[in-house]
């Protein structure tokens, strides 16, 4: 019975994906996550199934970590599915979207229950590639964003693929259990960092994220920023044998990268004008802190277990809140009861920045305990940063227009998602239900207060940030990279560029090209200097 449920977790959404091509309803899109949710709660831990004749022989099982991921991912998929089924506007209300939505869900669930690397890789690939269809929209920018996303995802897949080859040829087995013993070569480790780092938007690999989140339908953004993004973290947890001494250097590296990500994300988030873009960059920042924590776990094998446990709670909390925020944003743009939704969003924001008695604070306390205050600076930094971003976000939300005719048909959203969101709200607040969330810590309060003050200071500059240089728009530096055209002999007869559809902006999008003229305005320079200084400053605490 348990085995059956376990199999149904990835199998059901796949079947539904097929079905939804012909007949789509709220049932087809929400049945799978419901079953996943039920099985996540009901299946006894460490249930295992092995299907030797499937693929190259698959092993699935559900351990504690998997259960956690499955629980929260399924929850988000469920609600998002509800939203999608209620949506009547074009890109979402098509069989293609529903099918790809469910395929991505399949991939996500599959990689959660995977006990062998190939299943994981399969899930990861399915998820990543079908997400392309969730991002793409008729508009010029959206298409380009989707292309960029696809490019990065493919690179990630290939990095992962070769990492797999290295590891498997080393261990001779595709099971994760055999992994713990072996020594992961530096090359393999680098590939893993690259492969999952793209999903986790490590600084330098993050360009796709703000581009796609700020243009994709908000429902897609919700599942992207929540379940899918966290899959990268799960990947690290699964593939990288924590607690082994020989990865300390890599731990350090991740620590640095993560911290950079935190700062970069924060800075850019504060420069965004669209609420979704703010959320996107805050995701970059949050993922930065998580990567840093994972790096810390690697750097100190001694208490890797504890840190990772705490990290999981933290991640789950962020997963839930961030997705709920996106969904809320969606509601906010579509409902008449904007005030109520705004309040909801505010509550979520507070939970995210770890107000006492919230899941956020619980996670933070756990982390502080696990890291034994070695990262206190970084954590406090993130607390302040989060505060800034959330305030900025709320401010931006206020200025968000209701859905205009050109984007959706401005229909009042159905009651089902509406109810679901309000149900989700308290869960998001309390998640991940850690007992410690009762505890009350003054430190975070202080930090939050500091953050608020700082925000008030910054607001004065906001006027200067009206016209932003191109490298501060969503997808910052990528706009500069994209300028580097591949002038190669290989061109179409109808002379289009070499990779016309994959990475570079399409030729006809003249307006796009014009708008992204590089203009070094004073705030631009100013912004650059500040970033550089802060990043430099960051190295001091780490190497003390």
């Amino acid at each position: 019975m348990h085995e059956l449920l376990l199999i149904s977790i990835p199998a059901l959404p796949l079947i539904m994906a097929m079905v939804s091509l012909f007949k789509r309803s709220w049932l087809t899109i929400t049945m799978a996550p419901v079953v996943a949710l039920v099985s996540a709660l009901s299946i006894s831990v460490d249930t295992t199934v092995a299907i030797p004749w499937l693929l190259l022989g698959v092993h699935w099982h559900l351990d504690a970590t998997g259960q956690l991921f499955l629980l929260f991912s399924a929850l988000i998929w469920l609600v998002a599915g509800w939203y999608a089924s209620a949506e009547r506007s074009k890109p979402i209300d098509t069989p293609l979207y529903h099918c790809l939505f469910l395929t991505a869900m399949t991939g996500n669930f599959l990689l959660i229950v995977a006990a062998d690397m190939l299943s994981f890789y399969l899930g990861f690939a399915m998820m990543g590639l079908s997400a392309y269809g969730l991002i793409v929209k008729p508009s010029q920018q959206a298409r380009r964003a989707a292309r960029v996303y696809l490019g990065f995802t493919l690179v990630g897949e290939l990095a992962l693929f070769s990492a797999l080859l290295l590891i498997v040829s080393n261990t001779g087995s595709v099971l994760f259990d055999e992994l713990a013993a072996v020594h992961v070569s530096d090359l393999a480790m680098a590939l893993l960092v690259l492969g999952f780092g793209i999903k986790l938007a490590l600084p330098g690999l993050h360009f796709w994220l703000p581009l796609s989140y700020s243009t994709a339908p908000l429902i897609s953004a919700a599942v992207l920023s929540g379940p899918m993004m966290k899959a990268g973290l799960l990947g690290w947890i699964r593939f990288v044998p924590t607690g082994s001494e020989n990865l300390v250097d890599w731990g350090q590296l991740l620590l640095v990268l993560g911290s950079i990500g935190l700062l970069l994300g924060t800075l850019l988030a504060l420069l965004q004008t669209r609420a979704s873009a703010v959320l996107a960059y805050s995701s970059v920042a949050k993922m930065g802190i998580m990567s840093a924590l994972f790096g810390f776990a690697l750097a100190n094998p001694a208490h890797a277990q504890a840190v990772i446990a705490a990290l999981l709670l933290f991640a789950m909390h962020h997963l839930l809140v961030k997705s709920t925020l996106f969904l809320g944003l969606h509601s906010y743009r579509q409902t008449r009861a904007r005030k109520a939704v705004f309040v909801g969003l505010a509550i979520l924001a507070l939970s995210l920045l770890g107000l006492p008695l919230s899941g956020g604070s619980a996670a933070k306390l756990q982390l502080a305990a696990a890291t034994q205050d070695e990262l206190s600076l970084l954590l406090s930094l993130s607390a302040v940063a989060t505060t800034l971003m959330m305030l900025h976000f709320l401010q931006r939300v206020r200025q968000t227009k209701p859905a205009a005719a050109d984007e959706t048909d401005a229909s009042i959203m159905g009651t089902r998602p509406w109810a679901a969101w309000w149900l989700l709200l308290p869960i998001a607040w309390w998640a991940p239900f850690a007992p410690a969330s009762i505890a009350f810590d003054a430190k975070s309060l202080l930090l939050i207060a500091g953050g608020i003050l700082l925000f008030l200071v910054i607001r004065r500059y906001q006027t200067q940030l009206r016209r932003l240089p191109v490298y501060c728009r969503p997808g910052d530096l990528f706009h500069l990279l994209a300028r580097i055209r591949l002038r190669s002999p290989l061109r179409y007869k109808s002379n289009q560029a070499l990779l016309p559809d994959l990475l570079l902006p399409e030729q006809q999008s003249a307006n796009d090209a014009k708008s992204s003229q590089l203009s070094l305005t004073t705030p631009g320079v100013w912004w650059f200097v500040v970033t550089a200084l802060l990043i430099a400053a960051l190295f001091i605490p780490i190497y003390l």
Partner: protein
């Protein structure tokens, strides 16, 4: 049992006789021709089923017929040949159905189907050849049988393409012939022996063997479209879609690749070839071809040309897998023989459908074609994903095994980069098509659209073949580890070779 050992002969006849009969038919007798075709194809399928059973239980299936001193015509069925025979038989059945639909009321159908059957006969003979002499014979016969198919349309373009095709393949054939004769004069009759017949004869002069290997590989490389011998392949695109499908997936290109496998494993023996330092050469050639083909494919706007270059690249995976010593790589290379065939034939079916139904020949005309022809485009998408190597489509399995084999043989440092590059490039030239087909709105009217009759987007005979092969490509990927799957069979082959 005597009758049973005649099985290979019957398999040949099952397509040869219908073919000859079809030549005699009048143009009008459509029903009879179709009947003959299908009868032959199905009969062959049944016989092949029997053959699989026989080989699996290691029955001796061999026929010998002497043509002169040292020249023996040998038909012999071993695991490798069964793999190829099965592939060509199954795909022949599908392609025949497709061709019947495709050539609906066009002239010279008797001629076409006659040569079509001959072509498959030659391919099967190639697969069942028991020694180098027989192999060469069928190799040349294949060239002859395909020439009229390429030239079928009779347009100046077609005739020119066919001429180029012929020039390349026959020149290659002559080199192959010389190499084979040379080998036979120094080593006696060259039967295909698992583990390699030459590896037993250490007394031979290694330098002669190296030169002979070069001759053989060049001769086979022309058909296998190894760079720089690939020039004919894009030219042969003028052929009708079913022919291109057969050429690229089953008959010609695959024959070359199959020959390379034969020469390396059953003539030289892979360890022996490696010890002569020949595999490095082969591997280099294959890698260059893989990358070059993909790069060229990027810049093709004509759909069939793009597919042609992708064939150039994909087929060399087989050579690459062959060039790496070690069972895993062998499995990868051999199984790709099947996987590439199934996926590529799907792509060409789809391309043919686009051209037939909408007159779409260029990638730039394909915006939004997915809405007009969902079935075909679905098949195309699956196959394209497989080509890129995205699980669970079959292509992933081959790449996985080749990669593992490379690691096992310590060749990972150059093989894996090649694999990655080509995957990335494949994505770069396939995904834009998929994207245009599904996500881009239809911009201009189709060049020449046929009105839809019936409930499908096009005649069923054209729609089902790609769907069938596409689902086949998916299934052999998803059930790769299931018994009697290509992968399992390839494993059997590898276990018998080492």
């Amino acid at each position: 049992m005597e009758l049973f050992s005649l099985l290979p002969l019957f398999i040949l006849l099952s397509s040869l006789l219908p073919g000859l009969a079809i030549f005699m038919l009048k143009e009008e007798s459509h029903g009879l021709r179709t009947g003959l075709n299908l009868f032959g194809a199905i009969a062959k399928l049944l016989l092949v089923g029997l053959l699989i059973w026989g080989v699996f239980h290691e029955k001796l299936l061999e026929l010998r017929w002497s043509l002169g001193p040292g020249l023996e015509l040998v038909l012999h069925a071993d695991a490798l040949s069964v793999l190829f025979v099965t592939l060509s038989t199954v795909l022949w059945l599908v392609t025949t159905i497709y061709a019947i639909g495709y050539l609906e009321n066009t002239p010279h159908r008797s001629r076409f189907f006659g040569f079509f059957s001959l072509c498959v006969t030659a391919t099967v003979g190639l697969a069942l050849a028991g020694n180098l002499f027989t192999f060469v014979i069928f190799y040349e016969l294949l060239t002859l049988a395909t020439y009229p198919l390429v030239a079928h349309k009779g347009s100046p373009m077609a005739v020119r393409g066919a001429r180029i095709y012929l020039a390349y393949t026959l020149a290659g054939g002559v080199l192959l012939l010389i190499g084979a004769v040379w080998l036979q004069t120094i080593a006696g009759p060259i039967d295909f022996v698992q583990g390699g017949i030459l590896s037993g004869m250490q007394e031979l002069d290694p330098w002669q063997l190296r030169w002979i290997f070069l001759l053989l590989i060049i001769g086979l490389g022309v058909k296998a479209a190894l760079v720089p011998l690939h020039g004919w392949l894009p030219q042969a695109m003028v052929a009708p879609a079913p022919v291109s499908a057969l050429l690229h997936a089953v008959a010609v290109v695959k024959a070359g690749a199959f020959g390379i496998v034969r020469v390396v494993y059953d003539v030289y023996g892979v360890e022996f070839a490696g010890s002569l330092g020949l595999l490095a050469f082969l591997g280099a050639a294959a890698s260059i071809t893989i990358v070059y083909g993909s790069v060229k494919a990027l810049s093709q706007d004509n759909l069939k040309r793009r597919l042609a270059y992708s064939t150039v690249s994909q087929v060399s995976y087989i050579a690459l897998g062959t060039a790496i010593v070690g069972p895993l790589a062998t499995i990868g290379g051999v199984v790709h023989l099947v996987h590439q065939g199934v996926m590529k034939i799907t792509l060409f079916f789809a391309a043919g459908n686009y051209a037939e139904t909408l007159g779409v020949h260029r990638v730039s005309e394909m915006d939004g074609i997915g809405r007009r022809m969902p079935g075909t485009t679905l098949a195309f998408t699956i196959a394209a994903l497989g080509m890129i190597g995205i699980p669970p489509v079959a292509g992933f399995v081959s790449k996985w095994y080749i990669g593992l084999g490379a690691m096992e043989a310590g060749a990972g440092w150059w093989v894996i980069p090649v694999l990655l590059t080509s995957s990335l490039l494949n994505a770069a030239y396939f995904l834009p098509i998929v994207y245009r087909a599904w996500f881009k709105p239809m911009t201009q009217a189709w060049p020449e659209e046929q009105p839809i009759q019936g409930r499908w987007e096009m005649p069923a005979a054209l729609l089902w073949p790609p769907l069938v092969t596409a689902s086949l490509a998916l299934l052999i990927g998803v059930f790769a580890a299931a018994p009697y799957s290509p992968l399992e069979w390839a494993t059997l082959i590898a276990s018998r070779e080492y």
